[in-house]
Symmetry: D2
Subunit: 361 residues, 4 copies
Amino acid sequence: MTVKTTFPVRVGLAGFGYWGTKLARNCAEAPGCELVAVCDGDAKRRQAARAQYGAEVFADFDLLVASPGIDAVICATPAEFHAAQAEAALLAGKHVMVEKPLATSVADCDRLLALAEERGLTLMTGHTFLYSPAVEVLEDLITSGELGEVLYCYSQRLSLGAIREDTSAMWDLAPHDISIFLHLLGGVPRMVTAQQFSLIGEKQEDIAMVTMVFPNGAVGHINVSRLDPRKVRELTIVGDRKMAVYDDTDPEMPVRIYDRGVDRDLPTTAGALDEGFGLHQLSLRTGDVHAPQIAGREPLRVEIEDFVTAVVTGAVPRSSGIVGRDVVAVLEAAERSSALGGEPASPERRLSDDPPVRLAS
Amino acid sequence: MTVKTTFPVRVGLAGFGYWGTKLARNCAEAPGCELVAVCDGDAKRRQAARAQYGAEVFADFDLLVASPGIDAVICATPAEFHAAQAEAALLAGKHVMVEKPLATSVADCDRLLALAEERGLTLMTGHTFLYSPAVEVLEDLITSGELGEVLYCYSQRLSLGAIREDTSAMWDLAPHDISIFLHLLGGVPRMVTAQQFSLIGEKQEDIAMVTMVFPNGAVGHINVSRLDPRKVRELTIVGDRKMAVYDDTDPEMPVRIYDRGVDRDLPTTAGALDEGFGLHQLSLRTGDVHAPQIAGREPLRVEIEDFVTAVVTGAVPRSSGIVGRDVVAVLEAAERSSALGGEPASPERRLSDDPPVRLAS
Amino acid sequence: MTVKTTFPVRVGLAGFGYWGTKLARNCAEAPGCELVAVCDGDAKRRQAARAQYGAEVFADFDLLVASPGIDAVICATPAEFHAAQAEAALLAGKHVMVEKPLATSVADCDRLLALAEERGLTLMTGHTFLYSPAVEVLEDLITSGELGEVLYCYSQRLSLGAIREDTSAMWDLAPHDISIFLHLLGGVPRMVTAQQFSLIGEKQEDIAMVTMVFPNGAVGHINVSRLDPRKVRELTIVGDRKMAVYDDTDPEMPVRIYDRGVDRDLPTTAGALDEGFGLHQLSLRTGDVHAPQIAGREPLRVEIEDFVTAVVTGAVPRSSGIVGRDVVAVLEAAERSSALGGEPASPERRLSDDPPVRLAS
Amino acid sequence: MTVKTTFPVRVGLAGFGYWGTKLARNCAEAPGCELVAVCDGDAKRRQAARAQYGAEVFADFDLLVASPGIDAVICATPAEFHAAQAEAALLAGKHVMVEKPLATSVADCDRLLALAEERGLTLMTGHTFLYSPAVEVLEDLITSGELGEVLYCYSQRLSLGAIREDTSAMWDLAPHDISIFLHLLGGVPRMVTAQQFSLIGEKQEDIAMVTMVFPNGAVGHINVSRLDPRKVRELTIVGDRKMAVYDDTDPEMPVRIYDRGVDRDLPTTAGALDEGFGLHQLSLRTGDVHAPQIAGREPLRVEIEDFVTAVVTGAVPRSSGIVGRDVVAVLEAAERSSALGGEPASPERRLSDDPPVRLAS
């Protein structure tokens, strides 16, 4: 099926709250993109959207989707609405970008993916961290081999945050780290365990610990909390050559590369004779620390540009629908593990191993 | 049974390595304590012990234990020897202090406890952190009610440390945190889950994550690693009134108390009418940070003094044998959970709920 | 002379650059204040000012000042224009707020002050730091006696900053610290020494060290640089009871109060007999550290409100014209000292010691 | 004159206090060195020295110096005794190392230097920081050209320290920084200004600011205080290519190299035509931060080894008598400047510009 996309891409934005206004500004500024319509249930917000961007405004998502002057829809609405809105938009022939998480179940994600593929439309998830310059530096450290083989990643995302009644700390915070881990480690974990606790007795849990084992044996561990005295945003990567720490709260040196590790010395002849072939000695290596300068680019801007490119060229965006689906699959497995007190669970497998590309129209 | 203890207490020390030499210095300096004998397999160390402390030296533990001039034995030997050495010492009528962990199985611990009780001898474990001024401050914050009810404790004990072939990161590092958690939360967890991974392919695991749920619902989480680029020694306590962070690497403000938390506002009448009885609003509270000065006392010195007092008066030391046994019970449960991929496990219950006191002789 | 001030105060803003746009936003938001006109030489900026605030715009300062619909003028223009613009505005019967420094010479400042007093108009300087919540906390610590008598203040304001050809690091950066020191110590230094260096050979100096001795003996020291690898914004106050550090780059604990100092013990009788009456022992005291929560208010907003209050009621604003004049007197003395290689210089005395109040109209 | 030096060098140590005991340990451990005698006025210390090192002990410096079994004398005594003790030792034909400062006046230093040269004896000063691995890294950064031309050095040495009645903060603390600055910048400043203040009204000043201008135009600034709430040990070097910060309290990254600075762009033709030849544009450059690993060597040990080498081979030690003399010359000039309220003063010139080498015997 052929999709006709005008250029510049005319975007309709659903949700003009905290994140929606950021998306709006970036849509307005990104080349090849035009913010033509905004939908929000709040009259004041609609007024603001019209005043600032001259956008057509709607109170109703249905009207936005029905608008013939829109090529693509961006959903910055609560997670519970994502699946239905994305489906409606795809059915109306619009390309879609959905804020993370893509949906609240893998089944929903898979349905959206199938629909997008069938219609030849772009389906993208807003995992903004994949466009962060710091994460790009981490990716380079891995693909260039500087860190060696990645053995372990762990992250902490802690703060005294808004206690939300509509979502748990895990669903609210962990998608960031899961998307980064999947991106850096290049795969979906084969095993997930998780625990969640509601410390203050509310329905939604305030803390979660998630452990993942990836197909290549690498281990990931995520600790999220919205009941912590300090704001912590730290991700550590342990490679078998070097190690790196990404501290998102450090304005001066957000990424530090440590030339530290365990070296496997070659077996000495004596040792080989005495104790068998293949013996080795382990020794610790500590060396310099390097903090590369991190570019000042706004990740959200790069994300919007990736979406525009995907819509226009049919290329698969970095934060594709598949990425969003895999993140939800991990969250769902974590939810199952947590419900069983921490028993291992496996993320649901993708329906197809076909390359997750949209056919160019 | 009556135990005759001379005063000052004459100590025989087994092991004169890194930790043993520290114990020796503190034994020599503590009032009421005399370091009279040292046993170590290494001739140079024996020579050093004799030169520095005028101690009688032995190459063999059996000879040390057989020495009539000794009232108490301190074992600073590898964990695998603890049970047999402590048992021999108790059988020889000596009071015993064993470095952590008390033994490598709960069964061994229970046998030692029974033996000590039967013979009216002190059995103590060297959980030095229980004597750390910072931990004492944390304990005061809890018992005074300043933190409110403790909801959550978590700790990180990470560094690029010696890769030991005789013990895992969990057995090597976690006993510190487990002993602190049990002490602060006043009980043994009813449920433990754990995961351990050997990242560099050695027999012994390099990282471990342990989660505990205590009888009162409080949650504990411990993260240990000997494959980390940075040295991290952090313990966070989340109370329902305030929160505290103990950073053992911060010489200036090791303990910080945050006047932060979630407040439960009383239901408004309107709300009660409209939405049902018992409704409340949650609101975040952020306030001052306070860093109490921490005394400069050496914890090991206080520990030795506690041992001397226990030996002389029959009082139960803070880091009693029961404490050591409970820590091993948690480790053993963690080991079981880890072997099953993270399934919940319960620490073995104490043989008796009798007060863990040594009968005064 | 009676000044008729309408309410709300109608403000004309000169300069719509980096700082001018911030002032505009705060004028628009502050109660009792209306931004009615903006003047800027740049056409695009004028357009932006009109679009965002519906302000009348002028390319020429003279036209702004001549506008009958304006009660007060705020000058956010380069320092070299301050004196002439403020004078023109006062002569036109407008209240005036001038960005720091008030002018580039004490003579100019004194002329402006005399003019403002003669005409019964408010003359204010934009020393924004005096309205910073952190500085208010420091002030409270001093006035409440918690710090004791202030012995010493020093500050560092360092970064790799724009090398400006129109002004030195001292005139650009030190006014902040000088205004804070004068405010906290409640007086004008009797002696100033300073050194300035142009490290990269430009006309304007990149670093400066300024030392001040206040009438009560307190010492102030300021270190500014625009050639430094790190951003440092630190102010330390040494009192004879406690000490405080204000680190403007620390989002978590910007103000720390240290219960540390030197205690003067009472003379012992023995000492008094042996070595004379009045002898004492000095002993160090180290204690807790306390970090009070700092309010999130925007200082510029409070400053604008203070200006409005001053205009309407005739009250003297905190950052009065006298404050601005005293800061320039210190800068001028520092300039003289620096020209003589560091010889002491005295700030020029105020023309009158009369209370620096504007007579209420 | 020929000096006969036995090997190993037999050292007599004057002063067995805090620093003396450290020197003793390093003398005992350094190859080529033997600690044969110790002199201290305190009987307990003498006893300790004999017990630990089997050293001959004296209560009197004169007896130590008269001892025929000693080749070299190390003075770890209060500064006021340095000149007389070093003189006596040189007159007795002993090589001498004196703790910093070498003496309390340049005249004394020059007399000692002349005497050492005349007798062909080593005269060394204990500026231990010159042997610190971190300072060696800084030196490499300069001599390799990595920092470019050094424009500016400044240091802060602040803490709440022992208020000493025998010496000011400047004489106590600044010698460290002065010795480092002279070493790194390779010369004696041509101009010194200083200010000192006694904040708590004692005879000896608690804070000092010292500014130096070196022959090549580089600027040095030192800030010392013993009345500060925090322990600060920081030295910043601003080069015209890169910058470095040495923070002696940071165990993880004590030296940080910042690829930051001001670049001078080549003049554009247009600019050259319009505004004259040689015009250029300045632009800021910010780049990576690098923290080289710093060796764990004990500086005092390297210092002792340098002394032994100097004694045996006649080579000039890094921390030579000339270095000690130059540091005192700067301190004396600073003292003069401070007495005049900050007027510039010049360090007294060396008596001779001859290479400060001891003639090999």
